[in-house]
């Protein structure tokens, strides 16, 4: 939960003004729609997903492990009439990755999907630490 908490704090600061806000709720599905579809222009941050792999293997059967944490975030907007500050807010959401300290990889991959008239941004934050 640590990275989600850090990201959430940063996003709440960065998105305090403007047309996109951030929710503390998880992006669960309410009824037939996920929350980001139901409440457009609201960013939802998912739980941490962690994978532990071996960064270094040694001949004495030892190893140095690394932990890769990915967190997805979702926000949907009206594709026909997107907010005027959308690009700025997207950049802020991406830059929130910098708030996580003590990792040697911090990345944010953004993908978009249009379904009907709804444009959904999915942000995948990735953090790796030894």
């Amino acid at each position: 939960m640590a990275y989600r908490s850090t990201l959430l704090t940063q996003l709440q600061t960065d998105l305090a003004t403007g047309n996109i806000s951030v929710s503390t709720e998880l992006p669960y599905t309410a009824g037939s729609d996920s929350l980001n579809i139901k409440n457009m222009k609201t960013l939802y941050l998912d739980q941490d997903n962690e994978t532990i792999t071996q960064n270094q293997q040694f001949l004495d059967n030892g190893s140095v492990d690394q932990k890769e944490t990915t967190i997805n975030a979702y926000v949907s907007v009206d594709a026909k009439n997107p907010p005027a500050d959308l690009d700025t807010r997207i950049a802020s959401i991406q830059n929130a990755k910098s708030s996580v300290a003590n990792v040697f990889v911090r990345e944010c991959e953004t993908t978009t999907e249009i379904e009907s008239d709804i444009l959904t941004y999915t942000f995948e934050y990735k953090f790796i630490t030894i």
Partner: protein
């Protein structure tokens, strides 16, 4: 007989470096930690010559060039030494021993150090080729280490 599998807990490939002439005593040796790989090289020198009665060159061997190459993730205490021990190699560590050009004994255990009868090769030489490297995408210091062998390699068994 059979292949040498080093993946078991008592048969790990191991490198011990020791103060020269100290017989690999525990207080005068370092068992190198965090080894990624080990390469032992025993290259025979050759001299080729041609004779009028043959369509192919003949060859004789001359002196061999022997060396040990390995890569490891740096352990701070082993690399820089503890700075206080009476043993030069424990005191100076891998870097200090290389920097001071101090001759060492080394032993490459092919199947660990504990099982009687398992093989090792040992010799004497100088540590060289240290190239510590680190980068943001791989944030652990790693370095190759070469031991340039001074003289013969010797085969032995754990007793």
């Amino acid at each position: 007989m059979g292949v040498i599998n080093v993946s078991g807990s008592t048969v790990e490939a191991t490198v011990v470096i020791s103060d020269k002439g100290s017989s690999y005593g525990a207080s005068t040796s370092l068992t190198l930690l965090n080894l990624n790989d080990i390469s032992l090289t025993n290259t025979q020198g050759t001299f080729r010559y041609q004779t009028l009665d043959s369509q192919s060159e003949a060859v004789v061997t001359t002196v061999a060039t022997n060396s040990v190459a390995l890569n490891l993730v740096i352990d701070e205490a082993q690399f820089f030494g503890d700075g206080v021990d009476a043993s030069p190699i424990v005191n100076k560590g891998i870097f200090g021993t290389s920097n001071d050009k101090t001759e060492i004994d080394f032993r490459i255990y092919f199947e660990g150090t504990t099982v009687t009868g398992n093989k090792y090769i040992d010799g004497t030489g100088f540590i060289t080729g240290i190239t510590p490297t680190v980068n943001p995408g791989s944030p652990l210091w790693v370095t190759p280490v070469t031991i340039e062998v001074n003289g013969e390699l010797t085969e032995g068994e754990v007793s």
